[in-house]
């Protein structure tokens, strides 16, 4: 039992920790990383530990633990390297470009009033427009 805990559950827990810590850091603490290298390293280390266990002590449980670890690891890599990358990213309006129509654009605010996107220079030197994907 102790061997099972140490050599199979513990490395699986390491894989899980690598993934869980990624989501915790991003969602709870706003720590965003273009590529989460540290978390990749942790999950790969957990899988490596599971491989070592299987090589040293082959068995059904060791095989199943490794399969589960690889599944978690693969899913995490797929999520971070593919799924979470937006399809068909446009470059957007270029810096220096004067966008026709922006000065006249007015949109409704949460109070239901129509509000201009841009204000005259005496009111605001510039406007930072933050486009977010929406309330899910």
């Amino acid at each position: 039992m102790r061997r099972f805990l140490l050599h199979q559950l513990l490395p699986l827990a390491v894989v899980f920790l690598g993934i869980a810590s990624y989501f915790t850091l991003a969602t709870q603490f706003g720590v965003y990383q273009r590529l989460p290298w540290l978390h990749f390293l942790i999950v790969v280390a957990g899988c490596g530990w599971l491989v070592t266990t299987l090589v040293k002590k082959p068995g059904v449980m060791a095989g199943l633990s490794l399969a589960l670890g690889l599944l978690l690891c693969g899913t995490f890599f797929w999520y971070t390297l593919s799924y979470s990358i937006y399809d068909g990213t446009n470059a957007g309006a270029a810096v220096g470009e004067q966008v026709e129509g922006l000065t006249a654009l007015a949109l409704p605010n949460p109070r239901g009033e129509t509000t201009p996107l841009l204000l005259p220079p005496e009111t605001a030197k510039a406007t930072l427009v933050v486009l977010y994907r929406g309330y899910w």
Partner: protein, 113 residues
Amino acid sequence: MELVELQERLDSFKERNVRIVASSVDPVDKLRLMREMSGATFEFLSDSEGQLLDLLRVRHSGGRADGADIAQSASFLIDPDGRILWSHVAETYRTRPRPAKILEEIDRRLPGP
């Protein structure tokens, strides 16, 4: 969360006379929920017809789970004449600019009085 972080640094933007506007394709009621959830006091605008997305060329066609079009996550610093002073278009939620970076860009592009 990006909007929360911006709210935390709102005074720094006000000191520079830069207004913050958040926008999505959400209808007004969902916009209100998002504003309340984020605790933001700056303006939120509903771009339910995607006019702003098209003007800024950041429409993510079919980007929502139900296949509807939404915005790519992006930030644009725009002067009163509609000129783009700085922009950041994210390819994933992990690459959004931090307020400190935006303030740095503002200082570079809009020097003080």
